[in-house]
Amino acid sequence: MDRELLIEVGCEEIPAGWLPDLTAQFGQQLDARLKEFRLTSSGPVETFSTPRRLTARVTRLAERQTDLEDLVTGPPVSAAFTADGQPTPAAAGFARKYGVEVAALERSETSKGTYLTYRVRQRGKATVDVLADVTGALLRSLSFPKQMRWDAYLEDGKGDLVFARPIRWLVLLYGGRVVPFVIRRTEAAQGPTVQDIRSGANTYGHRFLTTSGRAGRAIKVKTFDDYESRLLENFVILNRAERQSKIRRELETHARRLGGRVSHSAHSSLLQEVPDLVEYPSVVAGHFPAEFLQLPQEVLTTTMIHHQHYFPVVDEEGHLKSAFLAVTNMQPEKPEIIARNSERVLTARLRDARFFWDEDRKAPLEARIARLSTILFHKKLGSYREKADRVAALSAWIAAEAFGRPEAAAPAERAGRLCKADLATDMVRELTELQGTMGGIYAREEGAPEEIWKAIYFHYLPIGVEADAPPTARQLGRAALTWAAVSLADKLDAVVGMFAAGERPTGSRDPLGLRRQAQGIVKILADLPELTGLDVRLTLGPLLMRAGNTFGGYADASGTIASFMSDRLAYLLEQRGFDVRNVRAVMHGRAENASPLDARRKLEALAQMSGSQALLGVATLLKRVKNITKGIAAPTSLSRAMLREPAEQQLLAELDARAPVIRSAATRGDYREAFTAIAALQPAVAKLFDDVLVMAEQEELRTARLGLVATLRDLILEIADISEIVTE
């Protein structure tokens, strides 16, 4: 009979940011361990979590393991018997290992010959007898962003059991009965106050809340349903989605009562985080003195959201009200106590912020640049003082040379020089999330023109790769060009500099966030016209090279950075929903020649032409051409005299006619026209392959024909390697 399995790992508070992933791992790993131990379940593993527990439930888990039958291969028969038919030591040893006579072994044919084999039959054990091993393996299989030693080990011979935080209890029930399992404590720690953790049927409710008896006492449970409802009685909402919707509901109610609503920018990230901070959420409303509304809005929201996990409240026009909503882990008898205390904490923080605001504005941003020499950018790349110089020069160069807008060079240089200055302000030292933003605000306060203050304000952006990821052209206003120059310069400096310093991201390790910086670069380049009104199709190579100049001419000889960058470009394009094959087609060729804007436009054109059979036809034939012309360069001039067949003549004529069209369309960036012209080659190319044998016997003729198709190949490859778009 199938029975219910319930596992709850009771823990001290697990970091909120880890819980979503850890809960998923808990389910996946339990599922994998059950399979590994041949325990079949009908229905999936369900998982739940709160800061103090990881819970899994399997509704119906088989009572026994499935039987195991396995064919173990021994020595080859040729090496198993001596000339007189006696078993060799190899054969005898193999039989002994399984406790049988050599005669009892089977023979099996394999591709390598006949082997002695033994059929292992193992009858499945009762589930209760293997669940301890499953649990041990489950606990060991979880991984944590930072693991903790807590003087615990398992009796599986693998030593210390590290975990997220100390485990305090363990519910392990199968069919309502406790499965014995023990987490041991090391000899050094064990004593009257440090004890083994033994599995049981007891869970624990909310630390402080209860409907009856003493809060935090043990609660005996038998089934999952029982467990879930007993927890609820004891103020633990097991289901995260329910906690979240309770929070959402109460936020809305309170905001309405305050005559406003909850700001949407706060909603997304904070609303994702708070359900993992609480077991029984309820919302408390508070106010802060209205005088603080004179602080920049960014300072208020950052203080509330990042530092206090409070939700700001806005009025109908989106202006902040002097109120906030705090999600507590309580159902307070007197919410006004918590509200008043929270108000005092927030007010103290805002008072600090106002102090910084007043102090910081006493000295101009310019004066902070010298102080940047005390803030390290990277040990091999020096301080932010040096970075400011590099970014200033690079910003000016990008504006004047890359963008071809010399008049923007001076403001770009100025914004570039100032963009890191806020790192030396008190406000940013306290509210690091406001870097850039604060510099922009201070520059604005000093009367810097929009081109400069907004370039500073937005220079850490973009973060996302979506076309509409902020900042938008509207937000940027007159600062679009300088912003693009400074934002590119800052990120190029980081990526190229860090590569020069040997800090290249590997696998999932990217502590300096270089992938995101690189994505920022390609995003700006790909959306340059929309963002800045500037239609320049910049390639990566010259930008990387110019950025490298400032690192003692760091040369990307092996093209590592360029290919890192083009990977990020491919990522961006795929994220935008372009077909993976099309992305490959437009990303052909050397990475440093890649132009994000060109790549994007080609993909838009290809997407528009996705139904074109002619283009697909050319693509298929291009694939053939590429195969037969491997290693063959197109001739500088075609041996026209040799190409006298009508099909050859026709293709020649088509190439002569279309090549200028394709090239001119490409120069203008009109890839729709370019691909249309390529598609129009289809009949002539098809006819050539139908009528003529390219690989002619006669060498001179063959060379001429290969030269013709290689010329065709190179013409198409100037635009894209459309052979990639062919469906296999």
Partner: protein, 293 residues
């Protein structure tokens, strides 16, 4: 509850839970962790439970007595429990209750906050404890000290005394706190805060370069002498001179006397010294393993 009543409450609470009551380290330190009662005692296998107040100096936090929440010097109540008891969180919550904080009327949370001291080669895993949004305690399970893996694991509970007293007295300015017997915190400490802040930020009748040079020299001399003491096997004094270096480095830093690359070099030097001292302590206090018969 006055500040001194709070100290008395916590002391009697932890004494009744088996802690020795120790006295503050009579040196300039940034936190109770630097006290040998923590730094040394958490090393090695010997169980140890201790509690003490530690005046803690953070030159960078000096605000000339003008900020209601920030101080050059504040007071920590430090508790070390080795090994860390299973019930340690509950014990901590009971200690708050003993101080008059009813957990059923407030929102008390343990939110992730790990601790690291680069100069001491030490780090731990833990939380900041929030009381209605106010950070009142740092709660840490030490993992390494002096670069040495700890076994058993010690729990460090560091209460911010001024914060908790302000909460209990419903005071918005630290200088308005009642220290005891009607005397305010300001009366006791305001002038000290002003003077110490001026010093920390180099507002001394001495040219900046000379101020910096003097502190570098003090650092170097203390550092060299710490090494001499260590070489002489005098571990306690060696730690004290190492801690003096750590404080001098903080002053060099807050007064803007050192550049950024130099800053990392200073941190590294102190750390290497702290690691050597920690090793020496372990060697000196671990009973020699008797040879297997």
């Amino acid at each position: 509850m006055t500040l001194q009543d709070l100290i008395l409450k916590l002391s009697s609470f932890w004494a009744s839970h088996g802690c020795l009551l120790q006295q503050p380290l009579d040196l300039e330190v940034g936190a109770g962790t630097s006290h040998p009662e923590t730094l040394f005692r958490v090393l090695g296998p010997k169980p140890w439970s201790v509690a003490y107040v530690q005046p803690s100096r953070r030159p960078d936090d000096g605000r000339f007595g003008q900020n209601p929440n920030r101080l050059f010097k504040h007071h920590q109540y430090q508790v070390i429990l080795k090994p860390s008891p299973d019930e340690v969180q509950q014990m901590y919550l009971d200690s708050l209750e003993a101080c008059g904080i009813n957990p059923r009327q407030h929102d008390i949370r343990f939110e992730e906050d790990n601790w690291e001291s680069p100069t001491l080669g030490a780090w731990g895993i833990g939380w900041q404890v929030l009381l209605d949004g106010l950070e009142i305690t740092q709660f840490t399970y030490f993992q390494q000290v002096g670069g040495i893996d700890l076994a058993p694991i010690s729990c460090e509970i560091t209460y911010g005394l001024e914060r908790i007293a302000m909460f209990l007295q419903r005071v918005d300015n630290v200088f308005d706190l009642e220290w005891g017997g009607g005397v305010t915190y300001g009366e006791v400490r305001l002038q000290e805060e002003i003077d110490q802040s001026k010093y920390a930020f180099g507002q001394v009748d001495m040219p900046n370069e000379q101020f910096a040079a003097l502190h570098r020299e003090l650092f170097d001399k203390n550092f060299a002498f710490a090494e001499t003491l260590l070489a002489s096997g005098l571990i306690w004094p060696a730690l004290e001179y190492c801690l003096k270096c750590s404080h001098l480095f903080n002053i060099l830093d807050s007064s803007g006397s050192i550049g950024v690359t130099e800053r990392t070099a200073y941190i590294l030097r102190v750390r290497q010294l702290a690691v050597k001292i920690a090793r020496a302590y372990v060697e000196a206090t671990t009973p020699p393993v008797s040879a297997a018969v």
